[in-house]
């Protein structure tokens, strides 16, 4: 049995043929420059800040930016997966509000475990296991039918409280060689945080952008019916996305704790907004205007650089918040325009 079909196909058309009903041909593809918008914005930011102060581009400062941005980015990757798989739907839109506090909890679990005498690898594994557990709770509740917004709101409250209860609202210092290395060490001359970020980025990028799991997750988010018809089961992907998000939040939390040399209760609430921003701003970096891992990385670094630059310039932190809010609105405007031009 030959693999080629034994038809003589009619003359192939290379030009778009108009539909039979009145109306002209559709436009062919979003222009490539759309994906470039995000990068141009980042470039503009870098240029502006470096012109405003020569300390911006100093290596220690860049290290600071990457170090802080890594936390947002890694947790942001998790949120990105949730948004990709959960889709844009108003009712069931994927969102994970518990990601910030999960990061905080992860650091606390590790710190408490190390203080209690557990060997570092075990402490790290424990922290990640606890994160994954909450991810499972989230995923299960969502798949059962509770709105992601409400589910993760509830777990955010629970986990946030756990962090306070476990520490009695007191910082737990983290003195451990592994975490010291995470903060200030290096791998073959490259600072560890950069290596960790790069490593996680490469893995997640390969998984989300280049694996069947990633592709199917996009499909599930964009059109669950199409996915079902294609033989994919959306519930598995949706539940899984929350576990992935929690795990990545856990990793980000370890990084954060190392950076602060302590596990700080309440830190989760502070970083949540930055993570959310990183996740949603991601769309402007993609030609398809969808959330992506690379886009999230760029957004996270952008946000970290923003706060950093403003601090260097002596601008009060309150303005940073306003800018972040405006950024989200800008992203939403872009998304809204995209909505209008695609006829569906």
């Amino acid at each position: 049995m030959s693999t080629a079909l034994e038809t003589s196909p009619p003359t192939p058309t290379t030009t778009p043929s108009p539909t039979s009903a009145p109306g002209g041909p559709r436009r062919r593809g979003t222009p490539a420059w759309v994906g470039a918008i995000g990068y141009l914005v980042v470039l503009a930011e870098v240029v502006l800040f470096s012109l405003a102060t020569d300390r911006f581009l100093a290596p220690e400062n860049l290290f600071n930016i990457v170090s802080q941005g890594a936390v947002y980015a890694i947790a942001g990757f998790g949120l990105a997966v949730v948004i990709i798989t959960g889709g844009d739907d108003v009712i069931k839109g994927g969102i994970d509000l518990s990601t910030g506090v999960l990061a905080g909890l992860s650091g606390i679990v590790a710190a408490v475990a190390i203080q209690a005498g557990l060997p570092t690898p075990a402490a790290v594994l424990l922290a990640l296991a606890v994160s994954a557990l909450f991810g499972l709770v989230n995923g299960t509740a969502v798949v059962l039918g509770v709105r992601p917004l409400l589910t993760t709101l509830a777990t955010m409250g629970i986990v946030g409280s756990v962090t306070f209860v476990a520490t009695d609202n007191v910082k737990i210092p983290l003195n451990d060689p592994f975490f010291d290395w995470l903060r200030g060490g290096d791998v073959l001359g490259v600072p560890t945080p950069v290596v960790v970020l790069l490593g996680v980025y490469l893995v997640m990028s390969a998984l989300v952008g280049g694996s069947t799991w990633g592709l199917r997750s996009y499909a599930v988010g964009q059109n669950p019916v199409a996915a079902t018809v294609a033989g994919i089961r959306p519930t598995r992907y949706i539940a899984g996305s929350y576990i992935v998000s929690a795990l990545l939040a856990g990793i980000a939390g370890l990084l954060l704790a190392s950076r602060l040399s302590a596990a700080v209760p309440g830190i989760g609430g502070q970083i949540l907004l930055d993570i959310v921003l990183a996740g949603f701003m991601s769309v402007v970096f993609s030609r398809r205007l969808v959330v992506s891992i690379t886009g999230t990385l760029m957004s996270a670094l952008f946000v970290a650089a923003l706060a950093n630059g403003f601090t260097l310039l002596g601008v009060e932190s309150q303005w940073v918040g306003a800018v972040k809010g405006l950024l989200i609105l800008l992203v939403l405007a872009v998304a809204a325009i995209r909505e209008r031009t695609v006829r569906r």
Partner: protein
């Protein structure tokens, strides 16, 4: 006779092999007490292209959904390639190799062609997807499977409808299907695209794949299929072999609509006052890609029906006229130009939309709340508060008038049968005292009893001077009610027929693309006139 679609097809349709690939027997299905399929049988041989035809509501979609696992039959059996099978989910159907190309293209908009092509099977090796490799494969496979040559990096959203459909078909072909169902595939296609599609279909049949071809366009069915199974009202109406020289398309139509069409009203065409201000005046209506240059009027005391097949623009007409979608051209209600849904309603218009559950009734509201939605002014005191007593009495009134069951005005509308839900929608407008009604497929999915009630109401309204624009694909309904019938074809008005000329067969023929107005029964051959595409060759 030259260009006779019936006899010409013999050379182009492959002869079916004799083994039975599919045998569905005694398929029965009910929803909420309404029987939709009654002991339906369907056979399909390997390499055969079988047409499945029937009016709207005849049960074709339900049958297909059972075949593909979206529904489960209440009774009956399916034997596929010699084995008794149970299909309880789309995954089961996929595993058996049964593929459907749906009318609603189930595609993910922001995926590339290549990604969508292989989604769910064979996207990559060992879990990883190589973009370049995928694109290369896609280009080659698209070309081979359906003769489509486009950049596989394009997003699905950016393709034309025809291209999307071909991607869908290519997708199905790549999975080496053992049965393919095409559901209204040519509705959005232009003539040359239809030809391309037919070429693909013939090729697939030539490989031994059994194909079920569902379409309202009988001319096309005749070109691609030899045998045709006709469904009517959820049961088999008959099976015809189009290669038999004694069989004509008129016979197919006859089976589809049946003899003894029940006339819900045997009145003569109503005489309307041509000088009266039209209740509805549509001038040069256009909706990009769907409708162009459409004008019609509805005068007091008449029922104007509009009909057309999938892709004719009839589905988009109601939303446009009632101000719920943007359109070019003008619409005037009782002489007043209207541009929005609110304007339409304020001028005395009423709209009973096709999607009753989403756009018609408020499913999670009570009957009472639903009934007063368009006439809140009448039950509001001081412009602010709802007068509960008045609200309730409006509800009781309409429930009685329309015989809505259950009779409790607090009953939640989502629990009502389709027919009763539709009565609630109608009641809403009756309570608002509307003068002109736009009804879009008002009795789709409605039981006989409720239908009768609704028809009675419609006739009563018209006798009292209201005007009705009835958009329907139900030929029985049309012939029973319409004073004038407008037939749409590919976005434009094909014909406007007075009552005496609007027999079901004539209407269907016009809707399916026949151009000549001549009565087919007088040409002598019994065949329907050729389509435009054939005469232009």
């Amino acid at each position: 006779m030259a260009n006779n679609p019936v006899t010409d097809h013999a050379s182009t349709v492959p002869a079916p092999q004799t083994e039975l690939a599919l045998s569905m027997r005694g398929i029965t299905k009910s929803f909420n007490g309404v029987t939709v399929l009654r002991g339906v049988n369907l056979d399909l041989s390997a390499g055969e292209v079988r047409g499945l035809v029937g009016e709207n509501g005849a049960g074709k979609s339900t049958l297909i959904k059972i075949l593909t696992g979206l529904y489960t039959a209440d009774a009956g059996s399916i034997v596929f390639n010699g084995e008794n099978v149970t299909i309880s989910s789309p995954a089961d159907a996929e595993r058996l190799g049964i593929h459907v190309i749906h009318q609603d293209r189930h595609l993910a908009g922001r995926l590339t062609v290549a990604e969508q092509l292989y989604l769910g099977h064979g996207e990559g090796s060992r879990g990883f997807v190589s973009r370049r490799g995928l694109a290369r494969r896609a280009r080659r496979d698209l070309q081979a499977a359906v003769g489509l040559d486009i950049d596989p990096g394009l997003l699905i959203d950016d393709l034309t409808v025809a291209e999307q459909q071909l991607v869908q078909i290519a997708r199905a072909v790549l999975t080496r299907p053992r049965l393919l169902v095409l559901d209204e595939p040519t509705a959005p296609l232009a003539a040359q695209e239809v030809e391309r599609l037919f070429g693909t279909v013939r090729g697939l049949a030539g490989q031994g794949i059994p194909i079920l071809y569902i379409s309202h366009y009988l001319q096309e069915v005749a070109q691609i299929a030899r045998r045709v199974t006709v469904l009517r009202n959820g049961a088999n109406a008959g099976e015809l072999d189009l290669s038999d020289p004694g069989t004509e398309l008129a016979d197919v139509v006859e089976l589809m609509i049946g003899r003894g069409v029940e006339e819900f009203s045997d009145h003569d065409q109503r005489r309307t006052d041509a000088r009266a201000t039209p209740l509805l005046e549509v001038t040069d209506l256009s909706v990009p890609g769907l409708i162009e240059g459409l004008s019609l009027t509805v005068r007091p005391g008449e029922i104007v029906a509009v009909t057309g097949l999938v892709g004719s623009g009839a589905e988009a007409l109601a939303d446009a006229i009632t101000g719920n979608t943007r359109h070019g051209g003008t619409v005037a209600v009782a002489g007043k130009p209207v541009r929005s849904a609110r304007g339409f309603v304020a001028a005395g218009g009423a709209y009973v939309p096709a999607d009753r559950r989403r756009d018609g009734v408020l499913m999670r509201h009570s009957i009472r709340e639903n009934l007063s939605l368009a006439s809140l002014g009448a039950v509001t005191r001081l412009g602010l508060f709802i007068d509960r007593a008045a609200d309730r009495s409006v509800a009781v009134d309409q429930v009685r008038r329309l015989d809505i069951r259950p009779t409790d005005p607090e009953a939640v509308v989502g629990t009502l049968s389709g027919g009763n839900q539709q009565k609630v929608v109608l009641g809403r407008w009756l309570a608002a005292g509307s003068r002109v009604f736009v009804l879009d497929s008002p009795t789709a999915g409605v039981d006989i009893g409720s239908r009768a009630h609704i028809y009675t109401q419609i006739n009563e309204l018209v006798d009292q001077g209201a005007g009705i624009l009835l958009i329907t694909l139900d030929l029985e309904e049309l012939t029973g009610l319409a004073d004038r019938t407008i037939v749409l074809y590919r976005g434009r008005i094909r014909a406007e027929l007075p009552r005496r000329d609007a027999g079901s067969d004539r209407v269907l023929a016009l809707a399916a693309g026949a151009t000549r107005e001549a009565d087919p029964y007088h040409t002598g051959s019994g065949a329907l006139p050729a389509t435009e595409s054939e005469t232009s060759r």
